[in-house]
C-alpha cells in the first residue's frame, strides 16, 4: 500500500536470488548426468542408465522443486514479516509526523489523513476522508487552491500556501506540497503549519512597508555610506532631492554625482571629515547640485551606522534642503533689517514702551539721538523729553487691556524745553509682539514745518497787505510809474509839433498823424487811471460792527506763536464791556498784528526777563470830541525804542529798519486807521520801549460817519 523509496531495495533482490540458485543447481545436475551418460565406458550401461535416468530425472526434478518451494515459502515469510515491520514503521511515522500528511483522490477529496490534522486543525482524522479539501480552505484562498489542484490533475506536483479552517473556526496558514500519482488516481500531500512564520512574515512585511512609507514620506534625505565612503543606501527623499535614482547613487564613490564641479575639494573635505568621525554634531552646510545643475544648500547631520553586532559599518547622513528655509530666513532677516533701517532712517523719534511699567522696549536711532543712546530698558518718563503729561492722555494707558487696543493716546505738539524745537507727538496703545499692552510714540520734529507754515502765513499776509490794503502812497507810486510812459510820449509829440510849427517848415499831414498818436497815448493814460480806480474800489474796506475783543484775540493768537518762539510774554489788558467798533475786521486785525510784530521784533535784544508786550484796549472819550466815545488800542513793548530821526520818518513809504521789511507796514497801518476815522500815534514807553496806539470810534458814533466814507 504505502511505498517508500527505501522499501524497494535489497529484500526483493534476495527474494529472487534464492530460486535462481536452486534452478542453477538443478541445471548443473542435469548437465552432469548427461555428461556421464555420454562417456564411452558407460556405453554398455547406457541402456541401464537411460532407464535409470527415466526414473531418476523426475525424482530429481520433484526434489529440486520441493526444495525450491520450501525455500520460497520461507523467504516469503521473511519478506512478509519485513513488510509488516516496514508498514508498521511507516504507519507510525505517518501518525507521528508533525506535518499533516494525507492522501487524496484527484477529485480533491481526502482519503486518509494523519493525526496531525487533529492536532493542528482540530479535525479528527476519521472525520476527514471523503470530504473535499476545498471545504476547509479560506474563502480568500479558494481560487489559488483550485488552481493548484488543476495543476495536480495535469500530473504536476505543486507547492502552495493557503489558509485552512480549524475545527474551532479559526484559520491556519498551511504550506502544501502535493505530488500526484496519476496511475493510482491519488495525490500525496504534506501540509505544514506556517501560521507562525506567516505572522512573522506579515509583521516583517508590515514593518518594511511602514518603513518604506516612512522613508518615502519624509522630506529629509537619508544617505548611508560605508566606512570606505561608498554609498550603501539612499532614501527616496534624497533621490528626489538630488535627482539621481537609487540605482545610480548606491555603490557610488567620491566624487559623488551631486557634488558641484567647482567645489569638489570642499565636498571631499567634508566627506573626509565625516569618515574621520569629525563631523560636527550640529551638522554642516554644503552646497550641492541637483541633476539639472541647480545648486542648493543642504544641511548634513551625521551619525554612525551600527550593525546588530555593535560594529560600526558606516555613516548615516540626514540631509535637509535648506535653500527655502535659508531664503525665508534671509528674507526675514532682510525684512527685519529693512524695517530697522527704515525706522532708523526716520527723522521721527519712535519708541515702544510697556504700558504698565513704562520700560522702553524699542527705540529707533532718532529717539536715541534725542534722548540718549542707552534708553532701551529705561523708562520713558525717565528719559524722554518732550512728552505728554499724564493728564494729557485721552485714557490712562496703564489701565488698558488687550481688548481696548489699538487706541490713540495722544496727538499734539510739544516743545522741547531745552532746544526749543517743536515736536508733533503721537502716542498709541497697541499690542506688542509678545502680547502685552504697549504704547508706541512717534515724535516728529515739526519746527521747520511750523516755521514754513509761519513763513507761508506771513507771505500770505503780506500779499493781502499789498493787494488789498494798498495805501495812497503806494497807489501814487504805481500810478506815477504807469503813467510816465504815455505822458512822456504825449509831451514829446507835442513838443515836436511846436518846434516844427515854430520853425515854419511842417506838413499838416505829419502833424495830424502825430496828434492822433498823442491822443492815443492820452487814452492809454486814461485806461491806466481807470484800472487803478477799479483796483481801489475792490480793495475798499468793508466795515461792520465788530467786537474789538474778537479782533484782538485773533491777532494775539497769531502773534502767540512768534512770542513763544522768542520767549516773550504777551499780555492782553482789555477793559471789559467795550462797545463794538465799526470797522473792517481784517484790516484792524492786520494793524494790531503788525504793531505786535514790530513790538516783538524790537525786543529781540531785550533781556529775557524784561520781554513783555502788552496789548491794552480801553475807552477814551477825548478823541472824538463830545461824542459817545472811542476805543483806544495800545501795543506797548519794552524794545529798543525809536530815535527822533526814526520817528520823523516812521510813516514814510519805503522807510524800514528791518532787513526784509518793505517799509510799508506803518504807512499802511496809519492809512487804515485814518480810514476808520482814527489816529495812529507813537509814544515812548516811560518804562523803556515804544507805545503804538490807535483809536477807533465806537459803533454808535461811526454809524453816522459810515455812509459818507
Amino acid at each position: 500500500m504505502f511505498r517508500s523509496d527505501s522499501a524497494r531495495g535489497d529484500p526483493s533482490h534476495r527474494y529472487w536470488a534464492v530460486p535462481c540458485v536452486v534452478m542453477l543447481f538443478f541445471a548443473l545436475g542435469m548437465l552432469a548426468l548427461v555428461w556421464l551418460l555420454l562417456q564411452p565406458g558407460f556405453e554398455i550401461e547406457r541402456e541401464v542408465a537411460l532407464r535409470e535416468l527415466q526414473w531418476a530425472l523426475p525424482a530429481a526434478l520433484i526434489l529440486s522443486l520441493s526444495v525450491l518451494v520450501l525455500w520460497s515459502l520461507w523467504s516469503l515469510r521473511i519478506h512478509v514479516q519485513r513488510r509488516e515491520q516496514v508498514e508498521k514503521e511507516r504507519d507510525r511515522l505517518f501518525d507521528l509526523s508533525l506535518d499533516m500528511l494525507c492522501v487524496a483522490g484527484l477529485d480533491g477529496r481526502f482519503r486518509r489523513c494523519n493525526p496531525a490534522f487533529e492536532r493542528i486543525l482540530g479535525h479528527a482524522p476519521d472525520s476527514l476522508p471523503g470530504r473535499p479539501m476545498v471545504d476547509f480552505v479560506h474563502d480568500g484562498d479558494i481560487v489559488a487552491t483550485l488552481d493548484a489542484l488543476h495543476c495536480l490533475a495535469a500530473g504536476e506536483p505543486v507547492k502552495f500556501e493557503n489558509r485552512c479552517r480549524c475545527a474551532d473556526g479559526s484559520y491556519k496558514w498551511l504550506a502544501w506540497s502535493i505530488n500526484p500519482v496519476p496511475e493510482g488516481g491519488l495525490v500525496y500531500a504534506v501540509a505544514r503549519d506556517i501560521t507562525g512564520n506567516k505572522a512573522a512574515e506579515q509583521a516583517l512585511r508590515a514593518e518594511s512597508a511602514f518603513r518604506k512609507a516612512m522613508e518615502d514620506s519624509v522630506l529629509t534625505g537619508l544617505r548611508a555610506i560605508d566606512l570606505s565612503g561608498r554609498i550603501i543606501y539612499v532614501n527616496s527623499a534624497f533621490c528626489r532631492m538630488v535627482g539621481w535614482s537609487e540605482d545610480e547613487l548606491v555603490g557610488a564613490t567620491a566624487p559623488f554625482p551631486y557634488w558641484p564641479k567647482d567645489s569638489l575639494d570642499v565636498c571631499a573635505r567634508n566627506l573626509q571629515m565625516t569618515l574621520d568621525g569629525h563631523a560636527p554634531a550640529s551638522g554642516f552646510e554644503l552646497r550641492i547640485q541637483r541633476r539639472n545643475g541647480e545648486l542648493f544648500d543642504a544641511r548634513f547631520y551625521l551619525s554612525p551606522l551600527i550593525d546588530a553586532s555593535g560594529q560600526q559599518t558606516g555613516w548615516m547622513a540626514s540631509i535637509t534642503d535648506i535653500t527655502e528655509p535659508k531664503r525665508v530666513r534671509a528674507a526675514l532677516e532682510a525684512t527685519h533689517e529693512r524695517f530697522e533701517a527704515v525706522l532708523d532712517g526716520l527723522d521721527a523719534a519712535v519708541f515702544v514702551a510697556d504700558a504698565r511699567s513704562d520700560e522702553i522696549l524699542f527705540a529707533n536711532r532718532a529717539f536715541k539721538r534725542i534722548n540718549g543712546f542707552d534708553t532701551v530698558g529705561r523708562t520713558v518718563r525717565g528719559v524722554a523729553v518732550p512728552q505728554p503729561e499724564r493728564g494729557d492722555y485721552r485714557v490712562d494707558p496703564r489701565g488698558l487691556t488687550a481688548a481696548d487696543l489699538p487706541r490713540e493716546l495722544f496727538d499734539g505738539e510739544l516743545q522741547h524745553p531745552v532746544s526749543g524745537r517743536w515736536y508733533h507727538v503721537r502716542e498709541q496703545a497697541m499690542r506688542w509682539v509678545d502680547g502685552r499692552v504697549v504704547r508706541m510714540g512717534i515724535a516728529t520734529d515739526s519746527t521747520e514745518r511750523k516755521q514754513t507754515a509761519e513763513v507761508a502765513r506771513q507771505q500770505e499776509e503780506r500779499l493781502q497787505r499789498t493787494s488789498r490794503l494798498i495805501t495812497m502812497g503806494e497807489m501814487a507810486s504805481m500810478l506815477a510809474h504807469e503813467l510816465n510812459q504815455p505822458l512822456s510820449a504825449i509831451a514829446n509829440y507835442c513838443a515836436g509839433c511846436v518846434t516844427r510849427m515854430q520853425g515854419g517848415k511842417w506838413k499838416p499831414e505829419d502833424v495830424l498823424a502825430v496828434m492822433q498818436k498823442a491822443s492815443f497815448q492820452a487814452e492809454r493814460a486814461g485806461k491806466i487811471i481807470r484800472r487803478v480806480r477799479e483796483f481801489v474800489k475792490k480793495s475798499e474796506p468793508r466795515r461792520s460792527a465788530v467786537k474789538l475783543v474778537d479782533i484782538l484775540d485773533d491777532a494775539l493768537g497769531f502773534a502767540d506763536i512768534d512770542a513763544r518762539r522768542t520767549g516773550i510774554r504777551l499780555v492782553a489788558d482789555i477793559e471789559p464791556g467795550l462797545p463794538p467798533v465799526f470797522a473792517d475786521r481784517i484790516m484792524i486785525e492786520q494793524v494790531v498784528l503788525n504793531l505786535i510784530r514790530n513790538g516783538l521784533d524790537a525786543m529781540a535784544d531785550t533781556l529775557p526777563e524784561q520781554r513783555l508786550l502788552v496789548v491794552r484796549a480801553r475807552r477814551c472819550g477825548e478823541d472824538m470830541a463830545g461824542a459817545a466815545g472811542a476805543i483806544e488800542v495800545a501795543v506797548i513793548d519794552r524794545g529798543h525804542g525809536i530815535s527822533e530821526e526814526g520817528r520823523q520818518r516812521l510813516f514814510t513809504p519805503f522807510y524800514t529798519t528791518k532787513a526784509e521789511g518793505m517799509g510799508m507796514g506803518l504807512n499802511i497801518c496809519r492809512s487804515i486807521i485814518e480810514f476808520h476815522d482814527g489816529r495812529l500815534i507813537v509814544d515812548d514807553n516811560p518804562e523803556g520801549g515804544t507805545i503804538f496806539s490807535f483809536t477807533l470810534p465806537a459803533e454808535s458814533v461811526s454809524e453816522r460817519v459810515a455812509p459818507s466814507a
Partner: protein
Amino acid sequence: MSELHPALEQIIHVVDDDEALRDSMTWMLEGNNYKVLTYESAEAFLEGCRPDMAGCIVLDVRMPGMSGLEMFEELGRRRCTLPVVFITGHGDVPMAVSALKKGAVDFIEKPFSERDMLRLIEQCLTLEREGRSKRLQEADTARRLDHLTQREREVLDLIIIGKLNKQIADVLGISIKTVEVHRARVMEKMGASSLAELVQHVVTVEPGALLR
C-alpha cells in the same frame, strides 16, 4: 578844430522798450534837426554798435531783458565813448545816481520837458564832438612825431623843456645854426605855428615829455 577834422554825422540813439516813447522821441528830435535811430532793447543796440559811431545815447533805465544800467556797463567794457543820458521812471533815482557816478552824462526823469531833453542832448553831442576832435588831434600829433628824425626829436624834447638854442647846441654838441635849422623843421613837421602850440600838442600825446 572841427574845421580841421570834419565831424562825422552825429546820431542820437534812443534805446527804450516803449514803442510810443521811441516814436515820439524820434518825432520830437527830428523836429529839432537831429538824426535819430531807435532800438527796442539794449541787446538790439549792442548788436548794431560800432566803434566809429558819433552822437549820443538816450537810454531807458528800466527795460525788460538787459537793463539800461547793464548796457551802460557793457559799453564801458567795449570802450565805447558815446555819452549816455539816462531816462528814469519813478523810484529809479538811486539807480540813475549810481550810473552817473560811473560816467553817464546825466539822467532825466520821466516825464521830461523838451527843453531839458534838448539841453542834455546838446551837451552830450558837444562833449562827444570835442572828445572826438581831441582824439583826432592826438592821433595827428602822434603821426607827426613819428615823422621826425632822431636828431629832430632830440631837439624837440629839449625845446619842450624850455632850453634855448644855445643850450641845445651845447647839449647835443652841434652848432647853434644847426639847431635853428632843426627847430624850423620840427615846427614845420609838427604843423605848429608857435612854440606854445607845439608844446601843447606834444604834451597831450606825451604828458611825460615835460618832465624829462
